[in-house]
């Protein structure tokens, strides 16, 4: 064999390929093999592709959806006892959810990720809630006497604290929004005189809603709920006491600084007094005994305070007619 290799090295490769039998004869000479028993071995220079016989995966037997066998009067809370992601085979309702293709209904419940994404309240069916309540009942105390209606509650507890709690499964249970505290109180439930009421309204500005009569204070500057609540309470206390305080400079408030029309301090009152006392000079003492003066006062104040429209002008006209003792004949 070594001789043959040497020969090959000396000769060209073409010669070798041309005379395969020669080479073979040489080989036989080198190592005598029984020719009859074995065939020539084939040198496969181009390897033939071997068909890959795949490993067949064994299919898991999936039983038919459980929902198909459910009884109509089954006990649902025991089928779905707690919060759980939606499962199509357990929920016996033909729900569909998601974006529908053209001329097609929305995808049905099987393999529907849209249904699995959204939180469900299947564990909070009315009987489940009722059972919860029944179970909790033994821990409850009696409802306090005297707070039977909403109005009574509001009367005895005028302060409303509104907070939000958040509950979900995430690495942290803190929710930044839960720190916000809103305090609501009706202006009428605070004991204020006219001056204090005016002042508190100037201080709270838009935090007072004239439609609902609520003063709303929202605190969110502190990191925890407790701190915010305390801060809001502090603000309300400060507002209340500040509005009762009368500063020295408040006495300097002139007519031009008035935010509303005060008939008692205006010229309209002097005009009426002059008219009534004519031809004597007006006296300030008994203006209340002038007939219809109250109606007139309200009409003039309305004309300025609620704005002028045909209604207030007519009201003013009627009041003036009464004051001047005139009757419309036409």
């Amino acid at each position: 064999m070594s001789l043959f290799i040497r020969l090959c090295e000396k000769n060209t490769r073409i010669i070798l390929t041309k005379i395969p039998n020669v080479t073979a004869s040489f080989a036989t000479t080198a190592k005598p093999v029984d020719i009859e028993s074995t065939e020539f071995r084939v040198l496969n220079l181009k390897s033939k592709k071997v068909e890959n016989t795949r490993k067949k995966t064994r299919r898991v037997e999936v039983p038919p959806p459980r929902a198909n066998q459910m009884a109509v009067d089954q006990d649902w809370p025991s089928v779905w006892p707690g919060p759980k992601t939606f499962h199509p085979a357990v929920v016996p309702i033909p729900i569909r959810q998601g974006y529908s293709l053209r001329d097609q209904p929305p995808p049905d419940k099987y393999g529907n990720t849209e249904l699995m994404k959204i939180p469900n309240f299947l564990h909070l069916s009315p009987p489940a809630v009722q059972r919860h309540c029944e179970a909790l009942k033994k821990f409850c105390t009696e409802w306090p006497v005297g707070l039977e209606t909403e109005d009574k509650c509001r009367k005895h507890f005028p302060l409303e604290v509104i907070t939000s709690d958040y509950c979900y499964s995430s690495p942290t249970i803190r929710e930044p929004l839960s720190r916000i505290v809103t305090l609501r109180v009706k202006l009428s439930s605070l004991s204020l005189n006219a001056h204090a009421k005016d002042k508190i309204l100037r201080l709270v500005k838009d935090k007072y809603s004239p439609e609902t009569d609520f003063i709303t204070i929202t605190a969110d500057r502190c990191p925890t709920k407790k701190q915010n609540l305390e801060y809001a309470e502090y603000l309300l206390t400060a507002l209340f006491h500040e509005s009762w305080r009368v500063e020295d400079w408040e006495s300097e408030k002139a007519e031009a600084d008035m935010e509303y029309y005060d008939w008692d301090k205006n010229k309209s009152r002097t005009n009426l007094l002059t008219l009534h006392a004519w031809p004597n000079s007006p006296t300030d003492t008994d203006w209340e005994c002038i007939p219809h003066v109250e109606e007139y006062k309200i009409a003039v104040s309305d004309l300025f305070n609620t704005g002028e429209d045909l209604h207030t002008v007519n009201k003013y006209k009627e009041a003036v007619k009464n004051v001047l003792n005139l009757k419309c004949e036409a």
Binding site: N266, S268, N271, L272, P279, V320, N325, L326, K327, A330
Partner: protein, 386 residues
């Protein structure tokens, strides 16, 4: 021969015809159907609710005496000329005020009536009716046809001699005195109103106690330099006379809110705007609308057009502003509204009678009504080409 006669006839002038010809006999015109839209009661002193929605006519000589120098609106004046009669529809606001005037207590300060309403509803015409009423009931008339004129079109300005910083409008003041005299000269001479104090206008010119008011007015018309001050004095004298019961006075001012406006075309020596509050005429007419006299009536009309700076609403408090409201308060706001359907029908009938509209179907009339939204001025305008 024929030719000769013709040429001769041609040569005869119309004067000859008038001189020698005999007048044609009057052709008998068939009598008109009775005019249900009119009332024969032409004296507004007798007007009551029964006369409402009827036309009455102001006699030409009275019209000339009262409104020669203004008072009728421009459009109404044109209509008066076209129709050859000054007929006014008796409307609810006028009747209402007349009824108030009849009931009011004249020992108290004058009641004030403020006419208000949108443009063209007939505020000024209502005022005309009331002025005629006052004339018929022998009241001294203090009538300002359109106060805005003094501030938007002043004819001459001069610094006031009496009040430092004020501006006089001599020509306008004298023109008003002429208007006043024209309206009141019969009554003034009849009542024999006299000046109660001595007034010295200059070194030589004085008005002494006891001079007739007419004389002072004439003096003001001749010496227009003092006209503004004479108006001031005249108004004080009239207030005094009314208070003493010598006369009763009616104040009628159209465009009254012009006095409380900030706008004016008057400039002072430094070319700065002089607001109406610094014009001496304003002082005089604000003085007469105060409540410090009695035996009088004050009727004013507020109008959007009387101001240039406040035009958002036609309601009286807005137009008068707070200052004006306090000046007038307590006053009776009287809303002059658009025509009611009844009034519209009467007006349409009147226009038909005056041949202002002809051959109009019922449907066409309805269309006009909807188009004009019952607004008197608009209706008049829309009827013009018909």
């Amino acid at each position: 021969m024929v030719f000769y006669t013709q040429s001769l006839l041609r040569r005869i002038t119309s004067g000859h015809v008038r001189m020698f010809g005999t007048a044609l006999e009057a052709i008998k015109v068939p009598e008109e159907p009775p005019q249900t839209f009119r009332t024969i009661e032409n004296n507004p002193a007798n007007h009551t609710i029964d006369h409402m929605n009827r036309f009455y006519t102001i006699a030409p000589e009275i019209q000339k005496q009262l409104f020669q120098h203004g008072g009728l609106t421009k459009f109404f004046q044109k209509q008066v000329k076209t129709f050859a009669e000054c007929s006014i529809l008796i409307r609810q606001p006028a009747i209402e005020i007349i009824s108030y005037i009849r009931q009011s207590d004249y020992s108290k300060p004058p009641n004030k009536y403020v006419l208000y309403g949108e443009f063209g509803v007939g505020k000024s015409t209502t005022l005309v009716h009331l002025i005629h009423y006052a004339f018929a009931t022998r009241k001294i008339l203090i009538h300002v046809p359109w106060a805005q004129n003094w501030f938007s079109r002043p004819r001459e300005t001069a610094n006031s001699i009496v009040h430092e910083g004020n501006i006089d409008l001599p020509i306008d003041a004298a023109a008003w005195l002429v208007h006043f005299k024209n309206q009141n000269h019969y009554l003034l001479s009849e009542l024999d109103l006299r000046v109660t104090k001595d007034y010295a206008w200059s070194h030589r010119e004085t008005t002494s106690n006891g001079t007739p008011l007419l004389e002072m007015i004439n003096f003001g018309i001749n010496r227009i330099k003092f006209a503004s001050e004479i108006i001031n004095v005249l108004i004080n004298e009239l207030k005094e006379a009314s208070r003493d019961g010598k006369c009763s006075t009616m104040v009628a001012i159209d465009g009254y809110n012009a006095f409380f406006s900030e706008y004016s075309a008057i400039r002072d020596d430094n070319k700065k705007v002089v607001p109406p509050s610094r014009v001496s005429l304003t002082h005089a007419f604000l003085n007469i609308t105060k409540s410090d006299w009695c035996n009088g009536i004050i009727v004013v009309a507020v109008d959007i057009l009387a101001t240039k700076d406040r035009r958002e609403s036609y309601l009286p408090r807005f137009l008068l502003n707070k200052e004006g409201f306090e000046h007038m308060d307590p006053f009776l706001p009287v809303h002059v509204k658009n025509y009611t359907t009844d009034e519209f029908e009467i007006i349409a009938e009147y226009y038909k009678n005056r041949k202002w509209i002809r051959d109009i179907s019922k449907q066409g009339l309805r269309e006009l009504q909807l188009l004009s939204q019952n607004n008197p001025y608009k209706f008049m305008e829309y009827c013009t080409p018909l």
